[in-house]
């Protein structure tokens, strides 16, 4: 009986209802709907719950297995925590949009066939764009760029799915090999949402423009849905190892150079998803478990970090590290919660990040992928630098900025406490998480050697941070207005991709004379209101075309 209810649609419809409700009823619905969805997900038996036939194709719009359940559970939890955090958001559009977004993400991971997946995929793009939008006029341009990228990704995915169906006659969403153009297109569509190169820049471009609560939602669903479908569709695809490693370092380099606290965290999403994509590429059971578990824990600690950053933004209205500092005096709870999130993202032992990320490194080691293992170890240190120390240090400690903001309202504090408790809880009692993973595992994260190695790694990179602090501080002032730092420090490729993106953005926005702008004016010159293709032709002109077409047909007929 319970399996006939669709948890994703439940949340989507709750979102629609939220748009109409007000006051305590609204709060009750916002908190109850995700919990109800969570309950359905946990209670439903494995296997397809909905099935049917459409356009002569077998459809399984709702199917449960270990993988989909894991992601549906965390998405429902995230929707709950996010709703709690966002209860005092003034925008009346954001929470309904976020619920449509969250519900469609749940629908996407529970989709047993590709067509349903595509439907939820697109709904997710619409929902997330609306979340961005509700941040107000400042986010409008970013939201349009975001929508354009996701529609492009949707087009790739759609073409790929259509090709897959045409070739196999089946819509079933199962593991695919990269043996046909359609599967490449599907992979490309997935990777666009994962924030993979060469389009990684959409993520740090758009997310930080969301409101203080909007970004908490945005950080969780799009990229992690992509991780889930990659886990299902393309496990063990070697290409993904390199894509993932690229993302890992792309995120670290840019996050280290960034000054805006929420852009640091946005780059760090790319970085963390890179770990997961690498795990998917390695493709052993251990690696896939690791990627899935890391997605689960990442959603929690990244949401926690963004909640603390959101609280700071809410209380101070400032986003730049250089404007902040010393907030621990008046925001102790936010400081503690933000620090817990920072420790978790750095995989400190006894936090959730430790029990998940170590599985991916372990898998690389087991497969004797020496370079991958070394790169992941180096990246772990890098994560500690940019997210583990840099974010809390510059925001909460460092010099005293003179700001004395109060703690955020109760609901925001409760949301942070809830997620902080989850971060620690999962780090200590990891067995329930391991039990949810797609493959059974006997893995024990807390071995003496492992803990010691990890602590050494973290302590040395922490030491490095404080030794190099003057340098880091100097780069901070420089990145604000010149680009020489990332020309010198970042790999040339990354810079080129980033610069290309910036150029494209500017061409659409305002700059004149660029290639895109010229193309734009050429198109408009032909199609604009009074242009060749749009004007009203004289009757003679129309008749001339008829004569020409007839002549063409006759000529072709007799040649």
């Amino acid at each position: 009986m319970i399996d006939l209810l669709h948890p994703g649609l439940l949340v989507v419809f709750a979102g629609v209802a939220l748009a109409l409700l007000r006051g305590p009823v609204r709060a009750a619905v916002a908190l109850a709907a995700p919990l109800a969805a969570l309950w359905i997900v946990l209670a439903a038996p494995a296997g397809p719950a909905w099935s049917g036939s459409w356009l002569g194709l077998d459809m399984r719009p709702l199917a449960y297995d270990a993988l989909s359940r894991l992601f549906a559970v965390i998405f429902a939890l995230m929707a709950f925590g996010g709703a709690l955090f966002a209860l005092n958001q003034k925008s009346r559009l954001e929470l309904p949009a976020a619920f449509v977004y969250a519900g469609s993400a749940i629908g996407a991971v529970l989709a047993g066939d590709l067509v349903t997946l595509f439907v939820f995929w697109e709904l997710m793009a619409v929902g997330s764009t609306l979340v961005l939008w509700s941040a107000g006029a400042s986010a409008y341009r970013a939201s349009m760029r975001y929508l354009a990228i996701h529609l492009l990704g949707g087009v790739l995915l759609f073409a790929g799915i259509a090709g897959h169906v045409a070739e196999t006659g089946s819509t079933e969403f199962a593991r695919m090999a990269l043996d046909s153009p359609s599967h490449w297109l599907i992979l490309a569509g997935f990777l666009v949402n994962a924030g993979a190169p060469p389009l990684s820049a959409w993520l740090p471009d758009a997310y930080p423009e969301a409101s203080w609560s909007g970004m908490v939602f945005l950080s969780a669903f799009t990229t992690k849905t992509a991780v889930c479908v990659l886990l299902r569709g393309f496990p063990g695809t070697e290409l993904l190892v390199w894509v993932g490693l690229f993302m890992v370092f792309y995120g670290i380099v840019y996050a280290l150079l960034e000054n805006d606290m929420r852009r640091i965290l946005a780059y760090s999403i790319v970085n963390q998803v890179g770990f997961m994509v690498t795990g998917i590429g390695i493709g052993t059971e251990m690696a896939l478990n690791g990627a899935a578990a890391h997605a689960f824990t990442h959603i929690i600690y990244k949401a926690l970090l963004l909640m603390s950053a959101g609280s700071v933004l809410y209380a101070t209205g400032k986003r730049k590290c250089t404007d902040l500092g010393g907030l621990f005096r008046t925001m102790p709870l936010t400081t503690v919660c933000g620090t817990i999130g920072a420790l978790a993202i750095s995989s400190f032992p006894l936090t959730s990040g430790f029990v998940s990320k170590s599985m991916i490194s372990q898998a690389a080691g087991d497969e004797h992928l020496l370079w991958v293992w070394l790169a992941l170890a180096a990246a772990t240190a890098g994560v500690f630098l940019h997210a583990g120390i840099k974010f809390p240090w510059f925001v909460f400690f460092q010099k005293d900025s003179g700001l004395r903001p109060p703690e955020p309202p109760l609901n925001m504090r409760l949301a942070m406490l809830f997620f902080a408790a989850l971060c620690i809880g999962l780090g200590v009692f990891y067995q329930p998480l391991y039990a949810l993973l797609p493959f059974g595992t006997q893995y024990v994260p807390y071995t003496g050697a492992h803990v010691v190695v990890q602590l050494e790694l973290l302590l040395f990179s922490g030491l490095a941070f404080f030794v190099m602090l003057p340098m880091l501080r100097r780069t901070l002032t420089i990145t604000l207005d010149t680009d020489w730092v990332y020309r010198r420090m970042a790999p040339a490729l990354v810079a080129a991709a980033e610069a290309g993106w910036r150029r494209a953005v500017h061409a659409i926005g305002r700059s004149r004379g660029s290639v895109l702008h010229r193309l734009d004016s050429a198109v408009q010159g032909l199609h604009g209101p009074q242009a060749l293709f749009a004007r009203t032709w004289s009757s003679g002109g129309m008749a001339l075309w008829v004569a020409l077409m007839l002549a063409l047909y006759l000529l072709l007929g007799y040649l």
Partner: protein, 493 residues
């Protein structure tokens, strides 16, 4: 008893209603007659479609003269499908017209509108059902002449020019058609389409056959507004009375597509056509040009009705693209898009008519803040707009889906990608509406809060509901279209 005469009755009733309306002259009575005739035709068409589904082909000898000597009405899977579309739109627009026409057409001319509506309906249904090539020409002229009058009834003075240009072009198109049919008649000695098809292979190698094909193809390309012969269409749709626009946009070009399909696939046969002319390549090239340029033109239009008109040209491109592919899925896409685009564009033009009524026009400045002043209309346009884009869950998606499958089936990956990419241009022009309706503050030209009159709104929303319904339940649309495609490709019906 009556069941045996359905093909004749579906045409004769609206045909007879027209002179009756002219005799009555009273606008209200004229409307009632037009509604009755349209609904009768709709009922008869549904019954006929049911007969065709059972029997395969329904043949009716006019005046009991047996074919091929007499005029035969021949309804098969394809014509039944088109007949249902045309009569359904006719039946929907007729009740809608009362308030809309009252607002847009001067009192003394209103009865003419209803007379022309009936004539046009009769003509289009006749075109779809007749099995006689010359009779088809006669009905084409009946429908076209009625259309010229319908367009000229628009209150904008430019409607006259639009109607005049359409008259010139339409006449050229019809003349080309009749020249082509004349050549075929000289060659085969018959006007019965089925008979012609049987006799043509014996003479298809001769000199006249390519000329016949060229004239018919050029003539029908003009009638169905295939790029670059679409130039008459935007003004005609933009300046005609709203009800007439909705009716014409949803039916007229679609029946012309039917005629083209009939001649290319049933009379000549696909292989003969490709032997005479490189039709697939031409159709695909022109369709792509239509889709890209007309969609882009639509993006910059200042008038919403004109925007929709250009979008129609682009959507016709998707239909002819499916024909050009000439694969089973491609043809299914073409036929199903006839229907899906018909209801989608019908819904949009009907809703636009409500805006014209309330705001005095459908320029973008009239649309500002529409989400608050006319919430149901704005929502309906947004939903139908999603179908225009081809979003899953709407009728438009079904068409795009089969079109993409057809392109892949033909091995043309680039074309499949192009089809989905160009729907992004549709996103842009639909977005322009959403932006104006929901994100702009109402200006001076925006209507005061209040929806269109109830009958108009109900009919429009029925059409919007159809756009959504046929996105899920495709047994009628895809079922009918794939039977039609099978028939056209020479399989058993």
């Amino acid at each position: 008893m009556i069941a045996a005469h359905l093909p004749a009755l579906a045409v004769v009733v609206p045909l007879a209603a027209a002179p009756l309306i002219v005799l009555v002259r009273h606008a209200g009575a004229a409307w009632a007659l037009a509604v009755a005739a349209a609904w009768f035709s709709f009922g008869a068409s549904l019954a006929l479609a049911a007969q065709v589904a059972d029997a395969g082909v329904v043949s009716y000898a006019m005046g009991n003269w047996p074919p091929p000597w007499g005029i035969e009405y021949r309804v098969d899977a394809l014509s039944a499908f088109v007949v249902v579309l045309v009569s359904a739109i006719g039946a929907a627009v007729a009740p809608y017209a009362l308030k809309s026409v009252a607002a847009e057409v001067p009192g003394e001319l209103r009865y003419l509108y209803y007379a022309m509506h009936c004539l046009c309906l009769a003509g289009l249904l006749g075109m779809a059902m007749t099995g006689d090539a010359f009779n088809l020409f006669v009905f084409m002229e009946v429908a076209s002449l009625a259309m010229y009058v319908l367009i000229a009834l628009g209150r904008d003075r430019r409607a006259l020019l639009a109607s005049y240009q359409y008259l010139l072009l339409g006449t050229i198109g019809a003349t080309f058609y009749v020249i082509g049919v004349g050549v075929l008649y000289l060659q085969t000695g018959t006007l019965n389409i089925a008979d012609m098809a049987a006799r043509l292979p014996a003479v298809a190698g001769g000199r006249p056959a390519p000329a016949a094909l060229a004239f018919i193809t050029a003539g029908m390309s003009l009638k169905l507004a295939l790029f670059p012969l679409h130039l008459w269409l935007p003004n005609a749709y933009a300046y005609a009375p709203s009800a007439a626009t909705a009716f014409l946009a949803a039916t007229a070009t679609k029946v012309s597509v039917y005629v083209l399909l009939r001649f290319h696939f049933s009379v000549f046969g696909e292989s003969a056509v490709t032997a005479l002319l490189p039709m697939p390549e031409i159709l695909i090239a022109l369709s792509i040009a239509a889709i890209v340029t007309a969609s882009l033109v639509a993006v910059w239009q200042a008038d919403f009705k004109r925007l929709l008109a250009y979008s129609s040209v682009a959507q016709i491109g998707y239909i002819t693209l499916g024909i050009g592919l000439a694969t089973r899925d491609g043809l299914t896409a073409a036929v199903v898009h006839l229907f899906n685009h018909g209801i989608t564009k019908g819904a949009l033009f009907l809703l636009a008519g409500g805006i014209v009524l309330r705001a005095g026009g459908a320029r973008f400045e009239n649309l500002r803040g529409l989400g608050r002043s006319m919430p149901l209309t704005a929502l309906g346009i947004t939903l139908a707009g999603l179908s225009l884009i081809g979003v899953p869950g709407t009728a438009g998606f079904i068409s795009k889906w089969y079109l993409v499958l057809g392109a892949i089936e033909a091995g043309m990956w680039w074309l499949a990608a192009l089809v989905v990419l160009t729907s992004l241009i549709a996103v842009v022009y639909v977005w322009r509406f959403v932006e104006a309706a929901y994100l702009s503050e109402p200006g001076e030209a925006a209507p005061r809060p209040g929806e269109a009159p109830m009958p108009m709104l109900v009919v429009s929303w029925l059409m919007v509901a159809a756009c959504l319904w046929f996105g899920f339940d495709t047994s009628f649309t895809v079922g009918g279209a794939s039977r039609a495609a099978q028939l056209l490709l020479g399989g058993a019906p």
